[in-house]
Amino acid sequence: MPIDVSAAVVSNRPLSADYNVVALAAPAIAAAAAPGQFVMVKAAPGLDPLLRRPFSVFEVLRDSGGAPSAVSILSKRIGRSTAQLYDLRPGDRVACLGPLGRPFALVDAGTEAWMVAGGVGLAPFMTLAETLRARGVAATLFYGARAAGELFYLDAFRSLGVDLVLSTEDGSRGERGRITAPLDRRLAARAAAAPVMLYACGPEGMLAATAKVAAAHGRPCQVSVERIMGCGLGGCYSCVIPVRGDDGRFHHVRSCIAGPVLMADRVRW
């Protein structure tokens, strides 16, 4: 059951000139959110911009007693709403509806989880990594960005026991180039009998490339897609993506309710 709250900003931390992490006091959403789910946020009242925007739940924050108290979102500034998110000050109010969408399907300890993140596509993996760790699943994060300055929260993932494989487009940290290159090599090196679940989030081109690599190595892959969303609740049919149905044909499915997590081999990229 999604809940709509007028959430107070607990904190807003700039990570770079474009990235920030804003924490919103929303205990009920924090308590209910599963890894891969998102919230629909309106960063400021009024008509400009008009619509809410979807953001992955980045962290579930807890009060001193350990109870979920807030969710944070990792935002990259690309337009009006993300600019407003960047400028929020503690105490400001943000309309926040969630948790929404189909979360990642979790694996058990027998399977390794390889998370593949492109840029701000890192967002859903913090809660996924936490949840997997609690299940005893060994996890690796393949994380690509434009430059070293845009690789965030590495220590947090490390402290969750996640192995890191990094790449940057300019080579300023990790391997130079796309993150799918090391992913491809590691999959090739991996024994076919050792199960791996891929989880990917990032720009659609990167998701398509990851899907291809996964398919080439016969590995299952869950992707979290980012389509433009009007409502987040299945009301508007704006967020569709072509997905192969059980009838073998492609259909437009609403990625807000049938996704955002989809099986990569079903999606037509």
Partner: protein
């Protein structure tokens, strides 16, 4: 003071004048977890053809100043699956369902309407002769007086359900279309559907919608929609269901005072899916404050006497 919010449309009585707009609320059932569906006056479900439709590719929406464009292309499950899979749940939840009926031909409108008339739990038929986003049908009927008259009278013949043609604002004289609909036997008209519009990505020099053009909705269009409702009120005697950019109780009252018996909320329910009780409370408070017992007494009460200072000759 207890106010009477009920609204009559033909043989149908709505508990209140607030309706979820077609295409903006799925088949209603999607919102069961978020909204008390039975508290709405009615739910107008997404437009339905005879068969399933995949609609247009993404991108299907783009935000514009105080509004949005959509070119969904009427994706839908078809009327039969709707009757089998969705209608029972709506009925079980006590929802008054207004079904938005589409067609590429006159026969399709008639056939879809017939199927709905035979089904259990349909409150009214909203004839979508105004969708700007599909190539055949829809707005072709809605942009010609004969087309409008033709569809409405043909559907009228096959159903006892209230028939509510939904008019397009993309015409010179919307009141003449309302008039044609009334002549053809409509129980009410609803307006407005969206305004044909487009947006261009100047960097790529390509349209922002896959369909090139789409329909503009949201607060941006409200002043035009209010004017159209007001014009239709002068032209016809049947009830008007008004919509276009309603985002709060005051906006809804604006339409009602202009002449709408009931209103629909589309775009604003994307922004605020829990808008419904706020709208109803606002309307109730207004009626109490103005000592109006029945919402019906407010309909079309705009006072256009010349303002006091209208004295300079021109």
């Amino acid at each position: 003071m207890d106010v009477d919010l009920s609204v009559r449309i033909g043989s149908l009585t709505l508990g209140n004048p607030i309706i979820a707009a077609s295409g903006c609320f799925g088949y209603g059932v999607e919102y069961a977890g978020v909204v008390d569906l039975a508290s709405l006056g009615a739910v107008a479900v997404k437009g339905l053809f005879l068969s399933e439709r995949e609609g247009h590719p993404a991108p299907r929406i783009v935000e514009t100043p105080a509004g949005m464009l959509n070119a969904i292309g009427l994706q839908g499950i078809g009327v039969r699956r709707f009757v089998d899979e969705k209608l029972p749940e709506l009925r079980a939840r006590g929802v008054t369902a207004i079904v938005n009926v589409c067609g590429t031909t006159l026969d399709e409108y008639v056939e879809v309407s017939r199927i709905l008339s035979d089904a259990d739990g349909v409150g009214a038929i909203e004839l979508n002769i105004s969708c700007p986003n599909i190539k055949a049908g829809g707005i072709q009927f809605g942009c010609s007086l004969e087309g409008t008259y033709g569809v409405v009278s043909a559907v009228r013949r096959v159903t006892r359900l209230p028939v509510i043609p939904k008019l397009t604002p993309n015409v010179t004289d919307v009141a003449s279309f309302a008039h044609a609909a009334e002549d053809a036997g409509a129980d009410a008209v609803s307006l407005v559907n969206t305004f044909l519009a487009m947006a261009i990505d100047v960097e790529t020099r390509r349209p922002k919608l896959s369909n090139v053009v789409g329909g503009l909705s949201g607060p941006a269009i409200r002043p035009i929609a209010v004017r159209m409702v007001y014009e239709c009120r002068q032209a016809i005697g049947i009830p008007i269901v008004g919509m276009g950019g309603i985002a709060d109780a005051r906006d809804a009252l604006e339409f009602i005072i202009a002449g709408a018996a009931a209103v629909q909320i589309g775009t604003a329910s994307f922004v605020d899916p829990c808008i419904w009780p706020r709208l109803l409370d606002g309307i109730r408070a207004y009626l109490s404050r103005h000592r109006i017992d029945r919402i019906a007494d407010l309909v079309g009460t705009l006072d256009t006497r010349a303002l006091d200072n209208e004295w300079i000759s021109s």
